[in-house]
């Protein structure tokens, strides 16, 4: 169990019950638990969808698509059963927020799933938990069992006459399954490989039925929106970026950890005030703002508001909220290599550019970092990433290509310093491995 951190600037919505023993159902009920569902039962389908739409809640998984909008795409009438999926396959390096939600507030996720189910008229929900989070499965399993015992799940929930079942499912350890259609394949018992779209999951999803799939944090936010109201939630962040967000600060920081901050919080403030700045008075070199798949920001690019639109404007992405801080002792080539090792290992192998591209990038970077690089390697790596970008079957290829291109573009000098058999200038001080363990 991870220690919790806090900061006065935090606005606790999703993390409101963290550290308060809310895994216990009675304790959860004391903390306004399951009130949102009961409220939602009286709101009607459109009522819930509109409330969520108005709250400005955008998907917390990385793409930042409006949640209410997503729900409204699900057809009202369908010949096949509809499903609600909670994507808890949190695997993005630098991101560790869903883990805390599952650990401290599993019932909020269940509640969110049920509300989503009410919103789209589904009777079945699945909570997919990342394979490596084995210990969280026990918590989730118990929470679901408890909810069934009280009649919060199953037949006739809360005496409303509505049936809703929730199942948990553990992954088998694949980053790729974080992609929604791959998650469905995995859930159906197949290889976790993304599907061709269209049709989109909202129309043809799990077992061919219309499916809503949301990130665990998104779903955990929903009960708070229903209870607190859309206007209150929207007012927490800048326009079109409603609410708060769990930011996972990691890397060279004095106080790393998961902080819930309003959307649009300044990145520099986040690093130097919330995260306590860089230890030992070292200088900042770069920041990865939203998990390892987002392009890196240089130290002079961090005066930005952390919301989806502002970060996009700066040429990166808010992604999954994993802020990785790198100080001056970090070798960017080694960091790029470590990132690429991850993507090479996690590529599902379905399409050519990702399967072959990540492998060659990794091979080249290994040699390059070891001092065997030649000048044209730098351009070759950039060219290779360009060939991958936007041409892969799913976003994993982009996730591997975008940061690589950013590393080369923004830190070309460091790449050039590795040329001609020179040893890595940062070799002694390198602590990258511990950052991205």
């Amino acid at each position: 169990m991870a220690d919790l951190v806090s900061h006065p600037d935090e606005v606790r919505v999703v993390s409101r019950r963290f550290g308060m023993g809310a895994t216990n159902l009675d304790r959860y009920l004391e903390l306004d638990g399951y009130k949102a569902v009961q409220k939602a039962l009286g709101m009607g389908t459109d009522g819930i969808v509109n409330e969520v739409k108005n709250s400005g809640l955008r998907g917390r998984g990385g793409a930042g698509f409006s949640t209410g909008m997503k729900w409204s795409f699900v057809p009202k009438q369908a010949s096949k059963p509809k499903y609600v999926l909670c994507n808890g396959d949190e695997s993005e390096p630098g991101t560790c927020k869903d883990r805390l939600i599952f650990e401290h507030d599993p019932h909020a996720v269940i509640e969110g799933v049920v509300i989503a189910g009410l919103a789209v008229g589904s009777h079945t929900g699945y909570i997919y938990v990342r394979g490596e989070y084995r210990y969280l499965l026990d918590i989730m399993q118990k929470a679901i069992a408890d909810a069934y015992v009280r009649g919060f799940l199953g037949k006739n929930i809360f005496g409303s006459g509505y049936d809703f079942d929730v199942y948990w499912h553990g992954g088998a350890g694949a980053y790729e399954v974080g992609e929604e259609s791959a998650l469905m394949e995995s859930l159906e018992g197949k290889r976790g490989i993304p599907r061709i779209r269209p049709p989109f999951p909202a129309v043809v999803g799990l077992w061919g039925g219309p499916t809503v799939i949301n990130n665990a944090e998104t779903l955990a936010s929903v009960p708070h929106i229903i209870l607190g109201g859309a206007e209150w939630y929207a007012s927490l962040g800048p326009p079109k970026n409603g609410g708060t967000r769990l930011f996972c600060l990691s890397g060279h920081l004095k106080r790393p950890g998961v902080y819930e901050l309003p959307m649009g919080y300044n990145l520099r403030k986040m690093i130097f005030e919330v995260g306590g700045g860089i230890p030992d008075g070292r200088a900042l070199k770069a920041v990865v703002p939203g998990g390892s798949s987002t392009p890196v920001l240089k130290s002079d690019e961090i005066d930005i508001a952390m919301d989806f639109d502002s970060v996009a404007k700066s040429g990166s992405m808010l992604g999954s909220g994993g802020v990785v801080v790198l100080d001056e002792t970090t070798c960017m080539v080694k960091f790029a290599l470590r990132t690429m090792k991850f993507y090479q290992h996690e590529s599902c192998g379905w399409c050519i550019p990702c399967r072959e591209g990540t492998d060659w990038l990794k091979k080249t970077l290994i040699r390059f970092h070891a001092g065997g690089g030649v000048n044209k390697d730098i351009d070759n790596m950039y060219y290779l990433s360009e060939n991958m970008l936007g041409r892969t079957f799913c976003p994993l290829g982009d996730a591997a290509a975008m940061p690589t291109m950013a590393f080369i573009k923004k830190f070309r000098k460091e790449f050039e310093d590795h040329l001609d058999g020179k040893p890595c200038p940062f070799e002694k001080a390198g602590v990258v491995e511990s950052v991205l363990a």
Binding site: R191, S347, G349, I352, T358, R367
Partner: protein, 793 residues
């Protein structure tokens, strides 16, 4: 479906809604490259080669997964698109070994073509390629893993197309590999489709591996010599010491009735032709031993003995047995020779289906037989008896893929849980031998319904089939009655009067068509050409021999002996001579060899079969891959047989029949109407390099100059067949151009005078092919392999 207008590279394209962009481009001649896309297989979007620019889309789109929409503007040829394709080829070549000089696919490799088109031959990488060892998956399938580009075509064709699911994918990322689903070997039907469909040389054929290169061979598209489905197989032949040797069989241009399909027999079982123990010179029995001889001596002897038999004992003292694997022209010539020269109606063949009864039942409905292509498009199919997966692989493929792609409804009636039940909407299991009763039941005889209950303990396995409800025979029949355009396919379990019952039932269904399953490559042709003691070509009864009588100048007027009657006649010493052409009745029907000790037996065959070993004269015959002519498949599709190979020392059955007639002093001009009404083609004959000659003959035919200058030219007798045999009035032009032509089955009033008990289905399975199959090393090795690992289908 409504048409949709799109613009591709400035060209206006109109295609039905729902068409994929890649297909729409193809329809106007714009090629969009792809590896993983394959028509009629599920979409993959994995190779990313077909990326095109679609206006209003931020990223390049895969043409193979994009469905066209009204007003779509696509660009398939811009710098961006070309660069994307080049990038893909570069990435593919990164780990692809550059062993093109030894790779079997070199010269016909899609990756090579793409590299030539997009120019990515120079590697940007310095690291070593990932290497993996080559594996042998079965006697006929090898897998060279580094060459694989993971297009998943093999996985899909095996699963979706063949319903075998022997292949899958292991590992992930760059370590992904195609692998058999059963440990390290394939448990499958050994069809070799995975090899055919592989765009590179990753999957290679055990029969062809490392033997030669594609451009070193001549490729001759001909009709398969094995089962009665009549697949087109393309034989790769090259020079050898004894003529032309077949090196490879495959489905090269996919233009035949079989489309993408070819089974193990069409692909590998040509190897009987290359066996060392083939006859390459005539043998004459001297002092009880078969001794090598010369053609002149053999023909002289045969002519003398046949003439003696005819003159001293009359035509009824001579018997003739024809074959299911000789061409229509040979069969026609053989029966004409028997009736005109030998003056006997004692002619028979190994009957594998009751075509005379079928023809009689279809009297007045000549167009109601279904073609092989119809089976792929019919909305509903009823299959009674037989197991097409084993005995008619192409038929099974057509049915299976019709169900998969067109949602056709399949109804299966069988005494066993045949594999096609998995595609069936309705499956009715009946007791063994009850097919005839079922036919009567279909026709409204409810009294037999009780006898159609499956044997206790072996009930219909509804769990395995798509059939949702346990059907009763009555419910099953009602369902069938509600269908339209039903194709009724039935095996040789149904014969005689039962065929009439089935046809009568079908007549009550709008647009119903019928298909009768015989067993060998030209079983239907042998029946159509009149290899019967009581039927002339076209199922004319002997009594109704009018036009043949006129044309041939006399036909014996009494029906002859059937094969068992010939045996009896030989036993009693009455049968003085027996002429066996390309068949093995002694082995097939387990005839006591001493029966023929009083008869003069002439056998034309390739191998020392049970029949050949008791012959007085053995003539080395060419097989169907070594001669020209036509085959009629079991559906009545007439196809050209082209000469591909040649083994010196053998002659075609056609030539041998003519030479025997000549040796008997018959007028060869009357037997084969050659040299009539034609201008010369300057001596051009159909030689080993037959491609050119056949193109030439198309031209000649179009100008009314078809070459028929030789009495050994089967085309000469095709004229007469087309003139005299009803149902064979097809377009010669199309036939010679290599297209399949429909013959129709024209029934006669009294055609059903046959004895159904003479029908002996071959009961071959996927890896056997009558006597011929025994001489195929590949089939034998696959069978041995499967005995060790019993297959589950």
């Amino acid at each position: 479906m409504a048409d949709v207008n799109i613009t591709v590279d400035g060209k206006k394209v109109t295609a039905p809604a729902g068409t994929l962009l890649i297909e729409a481009c193809k329809s106007v001649g714009i090629e969009v490259p792809s590896f993983c896309y394959y028509p009629n297989l599920s979409l993959q979007g994995a190779c990313r080669m077909c990326l095109v620019k679609v206006e209003k889309m931020p990223k390049l789109q895969t043409a193979c997964t994009t469905v066209i929409s009204e007003g779509m503007i696509a660009i398939t040829d811009s710098d961006e698109v070309r660069q994307a394709r080049k990038g893909m080829v570069e990435l593919l070549l990164g780990n692809h070994p550059l062993d093109c000089p030894v790779c079997d696919a070199g010269g016909e490799c899609e990756l090579q073509d793409m590299t030539f088109s997009y120019g990515a031959a120079e590697s940007k990488y310095m690291e070593p390629k990932n290497h993996k060892e080559e594996q042998q998956w079965s006697p006929v399938v090898y897998f060279d893993r580094p060459r694989c580009i993971l297009c998943y075509r093999c996985v899909r064709v095996c699963g979706e197309g063949m319903d075998v699911w022997a292949l899958g994918v292991q590992n992930r990322g760059v370590g992904s590999i195609i692998a058999p689903n059963k440990e390290d070997h394939l448990e499958c039907e050994e069809c070799g489709m995975c090899i055919d469909i592989c765009p590179v040389g990753a999957l290679t054929s055990g029969a062809y591996r490392y033997k030669t290169r594609p451009w070193e061979m001549n490729h001759v598209g001909t009709t398969c010599a094995h089962c009665a489905d009549g697949c087109k197989t393309t034989l790769g032949v090259r020079r050898s010491e004894t003529g032309m040797e077949i090196v490879r069989g495959d489905n090269r241009d996919k233009s035949g009735i079989n489309g993408d399909f070819l089974c193990i027999k069409g692909r590998y079982a040509f190897d009987f032709a290359n066996r060392e123990d083939r006859f390459v010179q005539p043998l004459i029995r001297k002092d009880g031993q078969l001794a090598p001889s010369t053609w002149e001596e053999a023909f002289e002897l045969i002519g003398k003995r046949f003439k003696e038999a005819r003159e001293q004992h009359g035509g009824q003292a001579i018997g003739v047995v024809g074959s299911n694997r000789t061409t229509n022209e040979e069969n026609y010539l053989l029966q004409k020779f028997a009736r005109v020269v030998l003056q006997t109606n004692n002619i028979d063949h190994h009957r594998t289906a009751d075509f005379p009864a079928f023809a009689a039942a279809l009297r007045g409905k000549p167009e109601s037989t279904a073609s092989m292509r119809d089976v792929f498009n019919a909305p509903a199919i009823l299959l009674i008896g037989n197991d097409p997966t084993e005995q008619h692989p192409l038929m099974a493929w057509q049915i299976r893929n019709n169900v998969r792609l067109h949602r056709a409804k399949l109804y299966v009636v069988n005494s066993r849980d045949i594999k096609l039940r998995r595609q069936a909407t309705g499956f009715l299991r009946i007791p063994k031998g009850a097919e005839g009763r079922f036919a009567a039941f279909l026709n409204g005889d409810d009294s037999v319904a009780e006898n159609l209950r499956p044997v206790a303990g072996t009930g219909a396995d509804a769990g395995e089939s798509r059939a949702t409800t346990q059907t009763t025979p009555a419910g099953f029949r009602d369902q069938l009655r509600s269908e339209q355009n039903l194709i009724i396919i039935f095996g040789a379990e149904i014969r005689g009067g039962d065929i009439a019952s089935v046809v009568k039932f079908g007549s009550g269904i709008a647009g119903a068509k019928f298909l009768y399953l015989a067993d060998y490559a030209n079983s239907r042709g042998a029946a159509d050409m009149g290899l019967y003691p009581d039927l002339l070509p076209g199922y004319h009864p002997i009594a109704d021999s009018g036009k043949f009588h006129q044309e041939w100048g006399g036909v014996p007027q009494t029906p002859g002996l059937t094969l068992p009657e010939m045996v009896d006649s030989a036993r009693s010493g009455k049968l003085k001579a027996l002429y066996v052409v390309g068949t093995n009745p002694v082995g097939r029907f387990d005839i006591d060899p001493f029966v023929f000790s009083q008869s003069f037996v002439v056998v034309q065959d390739m191998f020392l079969t049970e029949t050949a070993s008791l012959a007085d004269v053995v003539l080395p015959a060419a097989n169907a891959y070594e001669k020209s002519g036509t085959f009629t498949n079991t559906c009545g599709d007439l196809q050209l047989v082209k000469k591909a190979a040649e083994v010196s020392g053998s002659k075609s059955d056609f030539e041998m029949i003519v030479r025997i007639a000549d040796a008997m002093g018959a007028d060869v001009h009357k037997l084969v109407p050659f040299g009539r009404g034609t201008a010369a083609d300057m001596g051009q004959s159909r030689g080993a390099q037959s491609g050119e000659a056949d193109r030439h003959s198309v031209w000649l035919e179009a100008h009314g100059l078809e070459p028929k200058m030789s009495p050994f030219d089967p085309m000469a007798i095709l004229d007469e067949i087309q003139r005299l045999v009803p149902g064979y009035e097809v377009s010669r032009m199309n036939l010679l151009a290599g297209n399949d032509q429909r013959t129709s089955l024209v029934g006669r009033a009294s055609g059903a005078a046959q004895n159904p008990e003479l029908i002996a289905p071959a009961n071959d399975h996927l890896f056997s092919s009558g006597t011929l199959g025994r001489y195929s090393r590949t089939l034998n090795s696959v069978m041995e392999n499967h005995d060790q690992q019993p297959a589950e289908f």
